[in-house]
């Protein structure tokens, strides 16, 4: 029933599905380590997907698409940072507002530009690249080779984020802002600037993650095409206990489950209802937040920093 081809494509899709979650999750880890929850993540994914598609479609260049995606998500990140860091407004409320706005804006702007096309407009997606040596190893080649630039970028970001957070002075400062902003402030660290920096890094990574769906995987843009995947990336940060290396496993777990449901659908295996498979990542996240005793959020997570108090 399960032959090697199914297994190969299963591994390949798992890694593909994990890619944006890893990118977004790493961004979320960095920003939450600085004490800010990026609650606009779902909207930034969406803007990234939209920007990537529009940029690539208009310019016929995938690279320009990616740059448009990054620019658009940085813009949203700036607004989010202004609301939550400068004006010190509640992060959940500011994020919910921005997500509603982004959903409307992306759909509206797409209609303004393209009307209602009879067949969905397509762009060429980033091609898969094979890596020498690894591409000769069975199974592993499907996981780590034959992927496109997004996946390699995501994997590369794991050690970079780890070294940045735990082995550089800057990373230490960033974490201190999330743990004890008062102490960081009296040590001469500019809390607001540090948090703004973290929000922008997270926005860039989330924007690239969003662009993966439009120009790295599907080649189209549809209304609300992210459909909650930004929140899974958000959950990856919780799930991985705010550690970049665990985020790799966390996102891969979600990727495996998503790809499981795709394989079930295409091969017609009906061992369990497909809906249960689809719900599994969310159930696992809920169970994880309830059972992982070692789960330790940055202390000042979600708290606006008020210097005068």
């Amino acid at each position: 029933m399960i032959n090697i081809n199914v297994l190969n494509s299963f591994l390949n899709i798992s890694m593909k599905m994990a890619t944006p979650l890893l990118l977004g999750g790493l961004g979320e880890i960095i920003v939450e380590r600085a004490g800010v929850m990026n609650m606009a993540i779902e909207g930034i994914f969406l803007v990234g997907a939209w920007g990537g598609f529009v940029g690539a479609y208009v310019s016929h260049s995938l690279l320009i698409g990616l740059l448009v995606a990054i620019a658009a998500s940085v813009l949203i990140g700036l607004v989010y940072g202004f609301l939550t860091i400068t004006l010190k407004l509640n992060q959940i409320i500011a994020g919910s507002g921005l997500n509603i706005l982004n959903l409307g804006l992306t759909i509206f702007m797409y209609r303004v530009q393209f009307g209602i096309p009879t067949t969905p407009l397509k762009v060429q997606i980033f091609p898969d690249l094979s890596i020498p040596f690894i591409s000769n190893i069975p199974l592993l080649s499907q996981l780590l080779s034959n992927q496109n630039i997004f996946t390699y970028l995501a994997i590369l970001c794991v050690p970079i984020a780890h070294i940045f957070l735990f082995h550089t002075r800057f990373g230490l400062n960033l974490r201190s802002v999330g743990e004890n902003p008062e102490a960081a402030d009296s040590a001469g660290i500019n809390v607001a600037r540090m948090r703004f920096f973290a929000v922008l890094i997270a926005s860039i990574l989330s924007g690239i993650a969003g662009a993966f769906y439009s120009i790295g995987y599907l080649g189209i843009f549809t209304d609300d095409m992210i459909a909650g995947r930004g929140w899974i990336a958000f959950a990856v940060a919780f799930f991985s206990n705010w550690a970049p290396i665990s985020a790799l496993w966390g996102s891969l777990m979600f990727g495996v489950v998503s790809s499981l449901s795709i394989v079930f659908l295409t091969t017609g295996i009906k061992a369990v209802p497909n809906e249960l498979v689809l719900a599994l990542p969310y159930i696992v996240t809920i169970v994880a937040t309830m059972t992982r005793k070692s789960l330790r959020a940055p202390k000042a997570l979600g708290e606006p920093f008020r210097k005068e108090e």
């Binding site: 919910s96 507002g97 509603i100 959903l103 509206f108 303004v112 809906e275 249960l276 809920i286 979600g302």
Partner: protein, 378 residues
């Protein structure tokens, strides 16, 4: 979390307004200004389509208020929004973020449609009563789970309500593709429920049903619970200051569970009014924005039951106007989401402005007091 602190500030602003009766209009001023700015911003978006926003808006208004059907439609749309808005607002009063009204709504939908389809040997009115009760109880239990997880494991209720929404979506889809799928077995939807279980129509020749009255009653009920009962007092106290309530010997965990149960029950009830009042069936992707619209409604209404009703009617109007705008001017109906988004952004910024105003007025009072004391002394 910053939630309680933020809530504290908002509430102190509102209470201050309430105390000074002459300043009560402030409570309405900010939402109204936010709405006007939001409409202005979306008018600018219409310019992008090379259309005249003023004539587009004028045509839309003319047709929206042109006949009873369209006017009644505003209240049809407002009904689930009142309930999902209350689902967020009620929990917010208790210092909790219930982002999962969408999921609680879906659970309500599943239960309402199951009862209406399967309980066939009882009179329609009784079946509806059961559907109403069961959908609100199960919506409530779905919400209460997040309260329980927070109480027992100190889980983040925000994350749990969010994640459980996607679980609920799959629960609904499972029933629509499996046990409850239509007899034709073609689309992921149910059969139509018997006409005896359709909520009666309030105004003939419109779609306005008694669910609207129910939603108004629930808004009154939530006001009553919060401000006239002991448990409501506890909920608000926990919302204002969790640590002080714990110190005063309150069982905070229990309060969390009850708060989330009631909030979830409101959203579950919206499932009942939509199934039995409007759609008369359930289908995949059923009203997938009722949750996020509810958050918008609750914020616009300052998490106050009366404010929620008013802003639900407003958002209902925007939705009807959006559909009419598409028909009359061919403006994409996603303009409603844009308007809604802009309005919410302005409401959020107005929180900051209100906060500033109350802070400076407090400072001025203190200064004036000090000055007069100084004059007395000299």
């Amino acid at each position: 979390m910053g939630a309680t602190r933020f809530f504290d500030r908002i509430n102190s602003v509102i209470q201050e307004r309430m105390r000074k009766r002459d300043n009560f209009s402030w409570l309405f001023l900010f939402p109204i200004v936010s709405v006007l700015l939001g409409v202005l911003a979306s008018g600018l978006m219409i310019l992008l389509l090379h259309m005249n926003p003023i004539s587009v808006f004028w045509d839309t208004l003319k047709y929206t208020f042109g006949d009873y059907y369209s006017i009644a439609e505003i209240f049809v749309k407002a009904t689930p929004l009142i309930l999902s808005g209350l689902a967020f607002a009620f929990a917010f009063r208790g210092g909790l973020f219930n982002i999962g009204a969408q999921g609680q709504f879906y659970i309500g939908v599943v239960l309402a449609v199951t009862v209406s389809l399967k309980v066939t040997h009882l009179p329609g009115a009784i079946v509806m009563l059961i559907a109403m009760l069961v959908s609100s109880v199960f919506g409530g239990l779905w919400g209460a789970f997040a309260g329980y997880a927070k109480a027992k494991f100190n889980s983040n209720e925000f994350l749990i309500t969010m994640m459980s929404t996607y679980v609920a979506t799959n629960v609904l889809n499972y029933f629509l593709n499996g046990p409850l799928q239509e007899t034709a077995k073609f689309y992921p939807r149910t059969d139509s429920i018997p006409t005896s279980t359709n909520l009666p129509i309030l105004i003939p020749n419109t779609r306005l049903h008694y669910g609207f009255i129910l939603a108004l009653l629930i808004a009154l009920l939530s006001y009553f619970i919060l401000w006239r009962t002991t448990i409501g007092y506890k909920i608000r106290t926990v919302g204002l200051n969790k640590n002080a309530s714990q110190y005063a010997g309150m069982n905070i965990g229990m309060v969390y569970v009850i708060t989330m149960f009631i909030a979830g029950a409101f959203a579950g009830l919206a499932g009942f009014t939509e199934v039995n009042g409007v759609q008369h069936m359930a289908m995949q992707g059923f009203y997938s924005s009722v949750g996020s619209d509810g958050i918008a409604v609750a914020l616009l209404g300052s998490a106050n039951p009366i404010g929620v009703v008013l802003s639900a009617v407003l958002v209902g109007f925007l939705q009807v106007a959006g559909t009419i705008m598409l028909q009359t001017s061919r403006v994409p109906s996603s303009i409603i989401n844009v308007t809604e988004g802009f309005v919410i952004m302005f409401v959020i910024i107005s929180f900051f402005v209100q906060d500033r105003i109350s802070a400076t007025s407090r400072k001025r009072e203190v200064l004036a007091k000090r000055k007069s004391e100084g004059q007395e002394a000299s």
